[in-house]
């Protein structure tokens, strides 16, 4: 695994007046978590398509910092959970769909079977394993797509709107999986509009019209609503714990 380098990359779709992406220079470090945001049509999904090899740069290069061009990347190096999971589910059952990547990538069938079981357990999918994917709700289809990428064990994981259609239980599961991926030094690219993902990211990339509007590091995780709620009273100093707030409220004490 190595850093991913995009140099003067442009993606131009046929019959479009302007490039969907670029020119773009970007280095994604190994083990980094990058949150990519921007308005609708700003080029987020095109960036994902480019890294996944679905589209090729019209100009510029995409390579690893060890010199390997994109065509030389290891098989299954990029795992992509798309905005719409139906676009990537091809198995006739959930288990079959999750098992396809390991069967394609693993040396032995036993190894592939082990990865399948692991993925089903990781995402609580055992009870759905024999269902046809189209019979699942949108949220469960999303989870099934995540499980398939997990079983693929990619070096770069791209998650396009990972909170889409998920209830809070599902979202908590995805966040814990992301933490696990980070501990294992997988490179992550999370795309979307929900700023909650900045708390998990190392850097935030904002795209506008296919180019970089802003690329910034993320400091201490912020919770704006919490701060806005408390700061007018405590002036940002010694912010009290939840227990203290309830206690003060309960005893009717005047504000410090």
């Amino acid at each position: 695994m190595a850093a991913i380098i995009l140099e003067r990359v442009t993606v131009q779709y046929p019959s479009r007046a302007r490039p969907a992406l670029g020119p773009l220079d970007l280095t994604i470090q190994e083990g980094e978590c990058l949150f990519v945001t921007g308005a609708n049509g700003s080029g987020k999904t095109t960036l994902a398509r480019l890294l996944a090899g679905v589209v090729h740069p019209s100009e510029g290069t995409v390579r690893l910092n060890d010199g390997r061009e994109q065509s030389q990347w290891p098989q299954g190096f990029v795992g992509w959970v798309q905005q719409n999971p139906q676009q990537q589910i091809i198995g006739t059952t959930v288990a079959e769909d999750v098992a396809l990547s390991p069967l394609w990538l693993c040396a032995t069938a036993a190894e592939a079977a082990e990865r399948l079981q692991q993925a089903l357990d990781e995402f609580n999918l055992r009870s759905w394993a024999n269902y046809p994917p189209h019979a699942l709700s949108g949220g469960w289809q999303h989870i099934a797509a995540l499980a398939a990428v997990h079983a693929q064990a990619p070096g770069l994981v791209i998650l396009d709107e990972p909170e889409a259609m998920l209830d809070r239980q599902g979202l908590a599961q995805v966040k814990s999986w992301i933490d696990h991926m980070r501990e294992n030094r997988r490179t992550l690219m999370i795309m979307g509009h929900n700023r909650q993902w900045t708390s998990l990211a190392d850097r935030v990339l904002e795209l506008e019209g296919g180019t970089i509007k802003e690329l910034s590091s993320v400091g201490q995780a912020d919770d704006d609503s919490w701060r806005q709620f408390l700061e007018p009273w405590w002036g940002g100093k010694n912010i009290p714990s939840v227990n203290e707030v309830i206690d003060w409220l309960w005893h009717g004490l005047s504000l410090p």
Binding site: A39, N40, T45, S137, G138, A164, S225, I246, G252
Partner: protein, 256 residues
């Protein structure tokens, strides 16, 4: 709640539950909330099925996956196809209204582009604009926020409040903070539909905390502190609630 249509019974096939009598309100915004796989989308599909069989209400559905609704070769044709069904020439006022709606959703520049070439958020906006052109009596919005950036979330909120004056708008989403801001009432969907005030539904069912202010709020309610359960979605509203209590007293039944 003014009831426009009474449906008895409404059966949800996959999940195997049924609603003996469902009363569809004539106008207003109503949330449909529940865990993944509870049958929310099936509930919407059953309402469509009822409408097709009875011709009693004109229903417009924005499905979870917008691609399933985009069938035409250009954005303009997608907007106007229902009006071409009898090979009629498009009436001037329809043409004008369609152009206006494309403008409202910032899609004018994509008028001659193929819908499948649009980004996920643009596709969702196109579906919403197409439905609006048909002026349905009931809007069914299944996860309408997915893929929308901040600007277009604001457009959607404004549109929902406009639509609700004349129509019934049923919104299914997992975003409690958003739903609590746009509606006061809804249904919890899990083995059936239970109607309720949104604050109460959130308190009883939204049991995986989202942010710290929400956690604090839940604990205030656990202690039976009489705050509005919806106030945590807006720090100013929350602060107003706490100030109100601070300057008054806590009823004796509150337990810290």
């Amino acid at each position: 709640m003014a009831v426009a249509w009474t449906i008895a019974p409404l059966k949800i096939p996959y999940k195997g539950w049924e609603i003996p009598v469902f009363e569809l309100p004539s106008r207003g915004v109503w949330a449909v909330v529940g865990p993944n796989g509870a049958g929310k989308s099936q509930f919407f599909h059953q309402l469509i099925s009822w409408s097709l069989h009875t011709h009693l209400a004109r229903i417009g559905l924005a499905a979870q996956n917008p691609l399933t609704q985009l069938t035409e070769s250009t954005v303009w044709q997608q907007m106007t196809w229902p009006f071409h069904r009898r090979r009629q020439r498009l009436a001037g006022e329809i043409e004008e209204r369609a152009s206006q709606l494309l403008g409202d959703w910032h899609l004018t520049e994509y008028r001659d582009q193929a819908p499948w070439q649009l980004s996920g958020g643009q596709q969702r906006r196109l579906v919403l604009a197409s439905i609006e052109l048909l002026a349905p009596e009931v809007y069914l919005l299944d996860e309408p926020l997915e893929g929308l950036d901040g600007l277009h979330r604001a457009v959607l909120e404004q549109k929902i409040s406009q639509w609700a004056n004349e129509s019934s708008v049923l919104v299914s989403s997992h975003a409690w903070n958003w739903l609590l801001g746009i509606t006061e009432s809804g249904w919890w969907c899990e083995d059936g539909l239970a109607a309720g005030n949104m604050g109460a539904l959130w308190y009883h069912h939204g049991n995986v905390p989202g942010n710290r202010l929400e956690t604090l709020w839940r604990r205030l309610l656990d202690a039976q502190v009489p705050v509005d359960p919806r106030a945590w979605i807006d720090p100013q509203w929350a602060r107003g609630e706490v100030k109100r209590l601070w300057s008054g007293y806590l009823p004796a039944e509150c337990t810290p």
